[in-house]
Symmetry: C2
Subunit: 343 residues, 2 copies
DNA sequence: TTGCCCGTCCAAAGCGCTTTGAAAACTTTT
DNA sequence: AAAAGTTTTCAAAGCGCTTTGGACGGGCAA
């Protein structure tokens, strides 16, 4: 059932029917009701393509999700982020267009999105320092919001980020207060902006107590379970093992926990672990009491906020960029305790 | 840059330019080259909306991903499934339209996809027995492929599924052969078709050895980490604890492992665990040697196959439905051993 | 009654593309 | 050289919608 047929069935013109449905004033209340009722009865939905061609707005948002060419990994936070964003899109009658691309083709993916005119805006995931996609999108004139930040020039575009620096600063202080001196950092890839910030928070906190980060206790890679396992084992079997770990993701921490188990070490007694928890829906950090002591910040919520902001930017072009910095509070769980050999 | 402008800049008509770009024969090789070169130079991409309006094909596939209203959970396998499918879409110049909806609105979401004419086909995720979406899509005439099956009438629609019944039959036999008699099943929600089949495989294997499944050893719920933890603890602390677990997902098994750790039990010695492994990219079951003994089947691969089949159905309507049943091989890892008190 | 305004409706153009039917420009055949 | 065929190009219609510019008629003031 299309507009023409609907109009014919009502004995009205397409114009009037279209206006009635879109709540334009120049149609009488009686006809509006009649039209809406008929539309409902026929389960009429205007054809998206035609509508967007006519209005010049696509009512769709693009998400480009990169797949690591090295390990063929898709970041597990995408599911939750997209669930959050998708919820907002649904509420605002927008579609979500997903492009899954090898990470080296990412730029072209955005270029295509803009050239093909298939979206009104885009979300930029997993920004790297000085990420070229940001300059590209600005140049293309496609509205966008970055989930994370990309180094300097933060003021010139809209972003939603967690205060990664402060979170890791705080977590490190917490471990230092417990008497830990050899604290390992199992971080995400340094190529990512968030990983750099987390490291800075960690290093600063150490420095403030007159300690220097030991390169032997720092790892940086894609945050898989095995990466956590391998890193923890290597460090714990080394000459000067750490007494505590700072781990950038729940999944990696699960690998760390496995390593501890295999080595007969007890989490929270022999070795402490603090994680950053993205609050993935299927990997909750415990129900009532947290399993891991964690700095937590909901990725789903970040998705919602990004989407809200992007829709707002599209509706109101020309406004100054918007920034949201989410604080990650530290919640104490059972994975941390005083450094061994300490009261 | 649109077609009109491109044509003008070349001194050709839109018709000729369009035909040159779409490799129609009625244009000379010389002009074709000239046109393609100019298109490349101007980074020209035909407007998707206009193109699909003209052709009647949207070049887009819809995925409706339900969010559990009970727990606000989005199934972690979606990320990998979509990565696989998205790869195929990209290769075939199709877009992926994602709708995130509360699971109770799922039907309406498909109805909307069809009415708004925004996709050429759809993937049905997580089918339940006698899933109403299948009848609905058939009625709407929207091509679709089901990831999984939905009970009877399997012949009438296309699907890609894992042989869940055989996988769990095999896994149960494996544990029985190791001497286990009290084998627990920590399954997905019984409302899902795959969970029902897995239970059947498990029960049949037990029955074939003259054993009856003990309801006290069977659980069914959303496959979270905590669900695994809670179920394992409850059963192990019960009067007649199991010596082995059959777990429907890696994530749930991580919870089971945590429970074992907390109780001071050793995985593979005190208690055996066999899992079904969907081979999620960020949660590999070990690198070289598998952590868990597992029946494994790649969800990403399933996504690829679903996508290939769907595109094929769209290209060649009227062909009989297609079915792919993937076998999940059993790989032995370190999580299983002989039943305690047995040589 | 006339004139004007306002509320209500409509015909037609246009969004950027594909595709039909026909014309123009070459080639080949007679 | 004309006729016939072939290749190459084009103008225009149409996809399903929105939106512009008008038309029509009823109500009100003059």
């Amino acid at each position: 059932m299309n507009l023409k047929e609907l109009a014919a069935s009502l004995g009205l013109s397409q114009t009037t029917v279209s206006r009635a449905l879109n709540d334009y004033p120049e149609v009488s209340e009686a006809t509006r009701q009649r039209v809406k009722e008929a539309a409902r009865r026929n389960n009429y939905r205007p054809n998206t393509r035609a509508k967007s061609l006519a209005t010049g707005r696509t009512m769709a948002i693009g998400h480009v999700i990169p797949v690591s060419t090295r390990h063929e990994i898709v970041n597990p936070i995408f599911a939750d982020f997209i669930a959050g964003a998708g919820e907002v899109y649904a509420r605002n009658n927008h579609d979500l267009l997903l492009s899954v691309v090898p990470d080296r083709d990412e730029e072209q993916a955005y270029r295509d999105l803009a050239a093909k005119g298939s979206v009104d805006g885009a979300i930029v995931h997993a920004p790297r320092p000085e990420d070229p996609r940001i300059a590209l999108l600005s140049r293309l004139g496609l509205p966008f919001v970055v989930h994370g930040r990309a180094g300097v020039g933060d003021g010139s575009y809209s972003w939603v980020d967690v205060n990664n620096r402060r979170a890791f600063h705080r977590a490190t202080e917490f471990l230092l207060d417990l008497g830990h001196r050899r604290i390992a950092l199992i971080n995400g890839q340094e190529a990512m902006d968030f990983a750099r910030r987390r490291r800075e928070g960690y290093e600063t906190a150490l420095a403030e107590r007159g300690l220097r980060a030991d390169p032997a206790l720092m790892r940086s890679d894609e945050m898989t379970e095995f990466y956590g396992y391998r890193s923890a084992r290597q460090m714990l079997e080394g000459p000067q093992p750490p007494t505590a770990f700072l781990v950038s993701s729940m999944i990696t921490a699960i690998g760390v926990r496995r390593a501890l188990g295999d080595m007969g070490l007890r989490l929270g007694r022999d070795v402490s672990v603090v994680i950053h928890d993205d609050e993935l829906s299927y990997l909750r950090n415990g129900e009532d009491i947290p399993i891991f002591t964690a700095t937590r910040s909901s990725v789903k919520q970040a998705g919602r906020i990004c989407a809200e902001i992007l829709l707002d930017i599209i509706r109101n072009p020309g406004r100054p960029p918007r920034h949201v910095l989410l604080e990650a509070e530290l919640t104490v769980g059972e994975s941390t305790g005083p450094a061994p050999g300490r009261p």
